[in-house]
Point group: C2
DNA sequence: ATCAAATGTAAGCAGTGATTACATCGGAGG
DNA sequence: CCTCCGATGTAATCACTGCTTACATTTGAT
């Protein structure tokens, strides 16, 4: 059973931490987030069931590490979309954020699930997770403020309510997708397209692009 | 150990089904939806760990039964709010639905969690769950159609995209609350109030109440 | 009263997160 | 070079989970 000398790291693994995270990600991708078990991750890393607990206090800590990695890629996706658009027009900046967020969630549903969870991970205990969330929030607040200063966004919209609405909208859209709620709502076109249209509609509403002849009532 | 005769139903319980559902609800309310176990529900009903499986094929079936009960109350809340408002103004009808939905979710977060889950319950296998969801969807579609026919809602808004947006918005709002995402978004006022304001802002946007001077671009 | 179906129990399986006591390795000080 | 200690791994075990099988009891229709 013992590996021959020369084979790397027979007893001491070397970088179990990284390999456990990788194993967990693979597990999530294959069997879903609920099927993750510390034991299985350990087995995949070729290590005893108790070994992971040397590096992660509990399952939550392991999942939090996975979430931190994923969050890095999420913010990257958002920032990339934002830098491609430029932020000359604040409304288009908000649209870019929504698109980057949505695109990433669509491409990485299981990772999104992990990040969004508050039972699987210790979100508030992770400076990385709280920090990057706060960063996006501040960018959005700035865009809203600039949009209202320039008259591009109606000044009658309370910034904090607008903020919460936007956040709820995009989060709801992604969660509907990940939670599998689309079947019930008869989205006949490809989900990605339907979602993109919903995003555009919502952003356009913020941009005041839809008149009723009764505006300002 | 054996109950004296006269005490109701020593061996055969009588209505274990109802009591198991009740026990499960109690369990959810006390320790959260993740802490539910069939064994514990059985214990609370004063029955052996295997007994529940006579009435529910598996844990999912038990949770689905709980969801069906909860869904009944959710649609009731929506319909009640809707009937109080009347549906003379379609936009106000949509607002009423949003309010009824939100109010129920705020008052019954754990039940909402169960209904919204697609891993805990078998949503698509339950005619009651799919049926009541579809019913609400049809009411909303009708309100949108009437709103656009009367010019109360901008005809430039694609009905299906508007539908999806509204659904995503309200669902996202509720899930943010239930998933505990509010702390991260610095909602300084009571959450219920902030959510109500977000709902009003969103509905007002649908009603075209916010001019920018650039509308119709 | 009988007997089959409905409904309960007892025992046990495999898998889970987590803890404890012990084994082994690797690197710093003598 | 060697020793020793802390870091890292293992083995064994606990309480708990969903679920199954074999068996016991009760009930209601005939």
């Amino acid at each position: 059973m013992t590996k021959s000398p020369g084979t790397r790291a027979a007893y001491h693994h070397g970088n179990l931490v990284e390999e456990l995270i990788a194993a967990t990600i693979g597990l999530i991708e294959e069997k879903g987030v609920d099927a993750v078990s510390v034991r299985e991750a350990a087995k995949r890393a070729g290590v005893s069931p108790a070994a992971p607990f040397r590096h992660f206090a509990n399952k939550t800590a392991l999942m939090t590490a996975v979430a931190e990695q994923a969050m890095g890629r999420l913010t990257l996706s958002v920032q990339q979309e934002l830098s491609e658009t430029g932020d000359a027009d604040p409304v288009e900046g908000l649209r870019a954020i929504a698109r980057g967020y949505l695109a990433w969630a669509l491409a990485n549903p299981t990772h999104f699930d992990v990040i969004a969870s508050r039972t699987l991970i210790d979100f508030h205990g992770s400076p990385k997770l709280t920090g990057e969330t706060e960063a996006i929030r501040l960018v959005m607040l700035d865009l809203i403020a600039r949009g209202q200063a320039s008259g591009r966004i109606a000044r009658t919209l309370a910034p904090d309510a607008l903020m919460l609405s936007a956040r709820a909208f995009i989060y709801g859209l992604c969660r509907m997708w990940i939670d599998g709620h689309f079947a019930e709502w008869h989205v006949d076109k490809p989900a990605g397209q339907a979602m993109a249209e919903a995003v555009d509609l919502f952003i356009d509403m913020i941009g005041g692009r839809h008149a009723t002849g009764q505006a300002g009532a």
